[in-house]
Structure formats: C-alpha cells, structure tokens
Amino acid sequence: MPEVALAIFLLPIFSFVVISLIIRPFLNKRPQLSWYVTIASIGASLILSLWMLVEVIKAPGHVLPMPDYQWLVIGDTSIHLGVMADSLAAVMLIVVTVVSLVVQIYSRGYMHGDPGYCRYFAFMSLFTGSMLGLVLADNLLFLFVFWELVGLCSYLLIGFWFHRPEAARAATKAFIVTRIGDFGFLAAILFLYAKTGTFDIGELQHLALVGAIGGTALTWAAIGIFSGAVGKSAQFPLHTWLPDAMEGPTPVSALIHAATMVAAGVFLVARLFPMIASSYEAIMTVAIIGGFTAIFAATMGMVMNDFKRILAYSTISQLGYMMLGLGVVGVGVARGAVALEVGLALGVAVGIFHLFNHAFFKALLFFGAGSASHATGTFDIREMGGLRKAMPWTFATFLIGSLSIVGIWPLAGFWGKEQILSQAWHYAPILFYLAMITVFMTAFYMFRLLFLAFGGEYRGGAHVSLRESPAVMIVPMVLLAILSVVSGWLPISEFLGGESHSFFGALASPMAWASLLLAALGILLAYAIYSKKWISAESMRRRFAPLYTIVSRKYWFDELYENVFVVRILVDGIFALFHWFDDHIVDGMVNGIAGGTIAAGREIRRLQTGQLQAYGLAIFIGILAIIAFFMIFG
C-alpha cells in the first residue's frame, strides 16, 4: 500500500516531467501527446485512489498504517516523511483526482489550438500531483512544500496568458496576497517545531490533546496555521485575490480556484482540527471568519456582472460555509458541549462533506461559464441572454448545478449545507442566522446569473452565431451534473465519522424547511426582477444607491489594500525608509565589500603568472608557512 500512496501523487508529477522535458522540447509538432500523458497519469491516480479508498474503508478505524521514511538526519535531529492514509485523505484524493480528470477532458476542447497547449498540461499535471501530495503529507514540512507548489501552479496558471496585462497582474496579486497568509503558516510551523521538535501532524495533535502544548502558545500557533488557510481559501480579509484570479483559463478556475486548491485551506483546518480545536480562541476565530466571509462574499456576488466573478464570490462564500462548519463544531468541542472524540470527527465530517459536494457542483458551474463564453466570446452577463435555446445542454447542466449550490432537496448541495446549519444552530446561534441569510443571497445571485445569462433574448453583438459547445466539453459537464445530484447521497459523512442522514428523514426537520423557503424566496426575487421584470432592477438600484455603491465597489477593499496599505504605508512609509537604508547603508557596505573583493581577485590573479618556478616556490613557501605557524602559535 505505501507504494500505491506514493504513486498516486508521483504519477502526475512524472507526467509534468515527461511533458516539459520530452514532449515540449522534442515533440512540439504533436502537442496532443501532452494531453494523453496527462489523462493517463491522472486516470491512473484516480484508479489508485479508489483502490486506496477501498483499503481505508476496510481498515480498522479507517486508518491504514504507513511506514515512515527517514528523510534527513542532522546530528541528533531526524526528520521523517511519510503519507497519511486515513478517511480524510482518502476522500480528498477522490475529490482531486475525479475533478482533475474531468477538467483535463474538458480542457482538450477549451484549450484546443492554444499555442501554450503543452505548457498548460504540464502545469496542470504538476498542480494535480502537488495537490495530491498535499493531501497525503503526514507532516507539516512536506505539507508546506506542496502547499507552496500548488500556490506556484496557481500563479503560473492565472498568468497563463501572460501577454495580457490583467492576467499578469492578477497572478502577481494572487501570489502576494496568499503569501501574507503563508507567512503566518510558516511561522507557526517553525514555532511548533521549536516548541515540540517535530513536524509530524499525528504527534502534534497528540501533544495538543494531552495538553503538552497549550495556552497562548497553542492559540498563536493555531491562528498562524489558520492564517495560511485564510490566504489559500480566500477568506476575509485576504479574499481579494480570488475574483481577480478568474483571468486564468476557465478550466483552471474550475479545478484550482473552485474545487481543489482553494479548498486546501479548509482541508488544512480539518487536518489539524484536533490541534486548532484545542484552543477556544483559535477555533472561535475560524467560525467567525467563516460565517462572516460566507455572507460578506455573497453580498458582492449579488451585484457583479462578470460571469466568473459571480462564481468566484460564490466560491469564497461556500468556503466560508465550510470554515463555519468546522468552526462551530470545534467551538462545541472547546466548550465541552460535545464529547471530544465524537466532536473531533464530527467537525471534520461537517466541513469536508460540504467540500466534497461543492467540488463537483462548483466545477460544473465553471464549466457552464466556460461553455457560455466559448459561444459568446465574453464573460459579461449583460451581453449574454437567451442562451437557453441555443445551448440546451449547457443550460440544463448549469440549472442542476445552480439548484445544487442553492441547496434544493435532494441535490448534493442540500446535505452539506443542512449539516452546517444544524451544527451552527447548536453552538453559535448568531452565526446561524447569518448563514440563513446567506442561503437567501446565494439563491438570489445564482438565479440572477441564470436568468440574465440564459433567459430572455440574446443581447450581444449580432456577429456571433450561438452554438452549443463540442461533445468533449459537454460530456464532462454531464458527468459533473450527475455527481452534483448524487454526491450528497454517498455516505461520506459517516465515513469521516460524522452523522448519517436519511433521504426523506431530512425533510422532517423544520430547519430544512426554513432554509428551503429562504432559497425559494431568493429564486423568486431573482425571477421577479430579472426574468419577469415585475420589479425594475434599475429602480431597485436607485432606491438602494448607497448600499449598491458600497457592495459593487467591493467595500473598497482593493482600494484600501492598494492605496492605503501598499502605497501610503508600505511604499511611501516603510519601503521608503528601507530604500534609504538600502541605498546609503547596505549598498555602501555591499559596494565597498564587492569592490574590495573584485579588486582583490584582480590582484591575486596576478600571482598566477604561468611561471613554473613561481608555482614550485609557492609549495615550499606554503610548507614553511605552516611550520612557522606551529612554531609561533603552537
């Protein structure tokens, strides 16, 4: 089994190596080869992941024992690396390999004829391998390496069309903003290592549970780790990079910026859940940030006009839900309201179950966006409209995805959302009400998008002939549509140690009816405004003009960060100080030393005369010098 686990993440990395070292330089006449290699390696990873899932299901306690490999020994310190094969890893492997495979199939149609075809699949392979490695890592050091690798792939793929200035800018922004969170994460890793002498996740959790690390130290470490998750999962206040990241190719958005990489933050919190939940302050922070981000992002989703940006805010909002789910159960654990063992498993199950479902329907929604723009050549929904007739497959699958994300029974999105809501109800009522309002907003912005893009008449230029996308794009969408219906029926939650749910029993709870009602209201409002136009969108906008301005300008966070933090404080203040210090003090020293070194090099070089006698003489002078040294200092 250890070989299988290694092969799962090494195969796509191998595919990256093959594409970039063999296919791209030597076989660039046949770029299709890179697609085949990618598909083969990720397909193999999927099969191996399924195999591992079966083994984990059979294993006692759903954990497979895995050997450790000694990686590094420095003096008395040794660092081991290995893989963790538990239910959490097994579920994540399935998510990553399934979505990645489907995305690669779709990409064949979407990226057809792009000059960067090989490069695209090389990066996609590297991303998939790194993401799988991240999921499997059993210690923080390796998790962090893969964490940075997926960040790098994200950067490279957002800026895939680097000749477009917006893409290059968005890539840089994503890289820098996530780096802020990663700084906290790395600091926490090093802090924990200094405290405990280990990077091993299992050991760290054990130490936290028995109280060997605790108090303020643990809180700071947990918050440091969570700051990494905040950056990666685009939670408030580091959410600004994700909407801009939509400049990348749409399949990239589907895989990296919707289904997998951005969910890595949620995964990280789940992976270290016992440790983070050991600190009340830290886990409360997780819950509050999650709940707040969910509603905060939803408000912005309601007013955007860019197809993919609406989906991006929706992703941020849904990731906030997952954080909320993890956080509220953790709060229950920290308060002692729920038994430790049960609560720890339950929290992971609640968060990851929604992650699992979300991966499929959100990837599907992005595919819909890609398909729509494939036909219309734009992502602006004001210039779409009427796509329902021209693109029946895209419309049907997009509708399923929308119903699923809104949380309509019995589609996949319903089940995860219900669990989060019911846990929030128990442990954090205020956050529960926020989450309920978010349900309404989600329904509104999704169906606003749907009615504007697919309903009514086509509003774009006349020169475009609307046509359904090719089969290579439709088939993956149908596959994901099926998953968006049924993924919630799978017993993922029980497998992770959470609560089971019954198919019709879920409808017995009043809370389910309440949330369904709110969702229906949201859909109805969108219908009234954007389909039937009973209420004029324009007059609404005027009536709520101040509110609309605030939300549509994204609460001025971009301006705040760029003009105030970056320009005023950093560039004009701190950087200017550094610059002066650098110019006058550091450069002065460096130039002095460098000049001295180079001059010394020139001078000593003269000793190299080429004269044999001089060389022989040097040997004897050397011998005498060593003896003299001993005579004098010995």
């Binding site: 990686w71 003096g75 040997i619 010098a625």
Partner: protein, 473 residues
C-alpha cells in the same frame, strides 16, 4: 592472500588492456567507448559482490571495507561518466583513441587502490599510477596549450611526489613502519611541538596530498592545467583525482595519525578557510568559464576540507557525502560546458549569452548544476553544505562556518553571472546547439542525481555513514 578481494581492480586493468588491443584491430573506433563503459559493469559487479565484507590482504597492505568499496563505486561511476562525455571529443582524434580510454580506466584503477591501501609505499605506488595516467591525458591534445599543461602538471607533480615521499620517510623514520595501523601505535603522544620530526613529516604529507586535492598554496597548477587539458579530463581531474586525494588523506590521517588529530585538524581548518576564500575571490575575476570552474573547484576543496578539520564520524561522513554531491554537480557542469564549447568553440563566458534560447536543456542543466555548486535547495549541493557545516559547528569550528557562509554568498556572484548571461542576454545567433546522445545521457544522470540527493539525501548518507564506521569503531 585472497586475490578475489582485488577483483574489481584487476578486472578494471584487464578492461584497459582489452580496450588497447581492440584499438589495434578495430576500424570503427566508436565501439571502444561502448566497450569501456559496458566493461565497467564487471568491476562494478565485483564491488557489489564484495559489499559488506571487511578483510585485508597482501599482509595487511590492502583493506576491503565499506570505505574502499564506497570509493570503488564512486570512481567507477566517475570513469563511466567521463568516458561518456569524451565520446564526441575523442572522435576528433586521428589516433590513440584506445589509449585515451585505457588511460582513463587505468587511472580509475589507481584511484581505487588509493582508497584501499593501508601502507605508505603502496599508497605512493597507487598515487603514481594515477598521476602518470593523468599527466599523459592532460597533454593528450598535443596542441601548445595542452602540452604546456601536461608538462607543468608533470613537473609540479614530481615536486609534490618528492615532498610526499620525504614526509613518508619522516614518518617511517620516526615509527619504524609503513603500515598505517602500526604507525598509529608507534606515534609518540604529546603534541607536535614536542616532536619537530613528526611536525615536519605531517606538514610534508599535507603538502604532498594537498597538491592532489588542490588546496592553497599547493593549487597553483590548477588553473593552467585545467584550462589546457581536454575538457573531459579537466572534469575528471576536478572530481575523481580530488576525491582520491581525500580518500587517501582520510585513510592516512584518521588511521595512522589519529593521536595528533588536534594538531592537523587545525592545519586543515586554516587551509580550508584560506582555500575557499582565495578560490572564490579569484573566480570572480575570471572571464574564461573553464578557468572560473577551476577556481570554483579550489573553493569547493576548501568546503570539503571542513570535513577533514571536523575530526569526527559526522565530519568524515559529511565529507564523503559532499564528495558525492560535488562530483555529480561539477561533472554535470563540465559536461554541459563540453557540449556547448564543442559547438561554439569558445570557453569565454561572454560567448554563452542567450544560450537558454539556443540550447534550452543544456542551459537549464548548467544553471541547475551551478545552483547546486552555490548550495541552493533543492539540490545535492545544498544538502552537502548543510551536513558539512553542521559537522563543523558540532566540532566547535563556528568561525570556519561563518567564513564558509560568507564565501558561499561571494560564490553566488560568479556562478549566477553565468546563469544571467545565458538567460537574460541576447544570443549572437539563433543557431541551435546540438549535443550527442552520450553527452545527454551523462548529463541527465548527473542532474537527476543532484536532484535526488537534494530531495532524498538519506539515499547516499546511509552509505557514507557506514563507510566511515571503520575509522570510528
């Protein structure tokens, strides 16, 4: 007397003879390289068959242990890589192709013997076997530069041999024996100052061996010889010959002179500091890439000597690891340079401008090896530096580590300058630079090895730790 224990060396000499004989009868000389590389499998297999044995033969003059077996494999791999990278180069010769390969093989046999002898006279014989082969190989091109280099190497080598023999004579005179373990028993205690004869003997040994590993001030021959010699032989000198020197030093100083290790430890520490600083500082001023790498190898010898200065199991195993990492890296860099200069016929760094566009893979490999020489992760060079710095810190040589870190920073300047020229400057022409399959194979092997050791150092470290166990039972 168990001749089987010598099977790797004997079969290697046999292979050299076969190659010379084939050269007489064969018309197609290309086969010689194939025979040479394939034939190396035989001594390699014998080495692996002996793996784990610890015996001595020839009345204790030769030892077969993890240490010598490690170096057997090391030199066999080096010889194979050098032969692979010579194929293009040698095919330009009209005659003497067989001799070229045979000399490489014979010198490898001598290096293997150097690592396994435990007696001063046989050490000297093995050393001369290596040296004479290398003198001939250095002057192989017969153009003025190569001949001058060969001549200089021969004359200075003779001086160094004389110094070494004199040192051996002093040690013999003092202890009455040439066997290392008996010397260890007979060595008088009480430090070197109490015993000027021993001091002189040790300093002369340091000078004689220092010539081999090219430490300051016994390094003067290096730039001229490296520049003049055929480039594959330069690569061979810079890794294999140096490694053989370190192997002998470890044997002699650890096994025979362990009693006065405090004294010679400080010699090596000071020489290490001077050597790395001088190598790096002068390398900055170089415009010829072969000369730059020549000074770089001097600097690297400085880092390597930190392992000698930190007299401990940690230090010596770190030294062996560094040798392995350095050998793959330096060889990789030289092979890339061979491939490039074969085509552009220039060794000037300025002529490498835009190489990333003309030969993307060669440029990438060269950049990767240079990064490893600086010691930036994820490369073998990084791990090697970590280990050897750590060993020095553990041995209370923090001052030396500080000097080494400063030197590492200085070295980044001239290594990265090559990367900058290759990647950021415009190429003089867009003409592609092709390379032969054997060069590419050798280069891939080196780069993959550098990456592997950078990511999973335990693969080699395990072996080096076992190899130095013989010194620290």
């Amino acid at each position: 007397m168990n001749l089987y224990l010598l099977a790797p060396e004997i079969s290697l000499c046999g292979l050299a003879i076969v190659v010379i004989l084939l050269d007489l009868v064969l018309k197609r000389k290309g086969i010689l390289a194939v025979v040479s590389v394939a034939g190396l499998i035989v001594p390699g297999a014998f080495t692996l068959a002996l793996w784990g044995r610890e015996e001595t033969t020839f009345a204790g003059m030769l030892a077969i242990d993890q240490f010598s077996l490690f170096f057997n494999l090391f030199f066999l791999v080096m010889a194979a890589l050098v032969i692979l990278s010579s194929v293009d180069y040698v095919s330009k010769f009209r005659a003497f192709q067989g001799e070229y390969y045979a000399l490489v093989l014979l010198s490898a046999a001598g290096m293997m013997l150097m690592a396994s002898t435990r007696e001063l006279i046989s050490i000297y014989v093995a050393l001369e076997l290596v040296a004479i082969s290398l003198y001939a190989l250095t002057g192989f091109l017969k153009d003025p530069k190569s001949s001058e280099a060969g001549m200089k190497y021969l004359l200075l080598g003779a001086v160094a041999s004389a110094v070494l023999l004199y040192g051996m004579a002093m040690v013999f005179g003092l202890t009455g024996t040439t066997h290392l373990e008996e010397i260890a028993q007979a060595i008088p205690g009480g430090g070197l100052l109490a015993n000027p004869a021993l001091l002189l003997g040790i300093v002369l040994l340091v000078a004689g061996f220092g010539f081999k590993i090219a430490t300051v001030p016994f390094q003067m021959w290096v730039p001229d010889v490296y520049e003049g010699a055929p480039t594959p032989i330069t690569a061979y000198l810079s890794v294999a010959s140096k490694a053989a020197g370190f192997a002998v030093i470890l044997r002699v100083f650890y096994e025979a002179l362990g009693a006065v290790s405090l004294d010679w430890g400080i010699i090596f520490a000071i020489l290490a500091a001077i050597t790395m600083t001088l190598g790096n500082v002068v390398a900055i001023a170089q415009t010829n890439i072969k000369r730059m790498l020549a000074y770089s190898t001097i600097a690297q010898a400085g880092y390597l000597m930190m392992g000698l200065a930190a007299v401990s199991a940690l230090g010596s195993s770190a030294l062996l690891f560094f040798l392995g990492a350095y050998a793959l890296t330096n060889l990789g860099a030289f092979i890339a340079i061979i491939a490039i200069s074969n085509k552009i016929d220039s060794d000037l760094i300025g002529d490498y401008s835009g190489m990333a566009r003309r030969a993307p893979l060669l440029a990438l490999a060269l950049a990767f090896c240079l990064i490893s020489l600086i010691g930036i992760p994820p490369t073998a060079g990084f791990m090697a530096k970590i280990y050897i710095f750590n060993a020095a810190v553990q041995y209370d040589l923090t001052w030396l580590v500080i000097i080494a870190v400063v030197n590492t920073a200085i070295s980044a300047y001239y290594y990265l300058r090559v990367v900058k020229v290759m990647y950021l400057e415009a190429p003089p022409s867009e003409e592609a630079v092709p390379s032969s399959a054997s060069l590419r194979a050798a280069l891939s092997f080196c780069c993959l090895g550098v990456l592997l050791l950078g990511v999973y150092p335990w693969a080699l470290l395990r072996i080096t730790q076992a190899a130095v166990d013989i010194f620290f039972p």
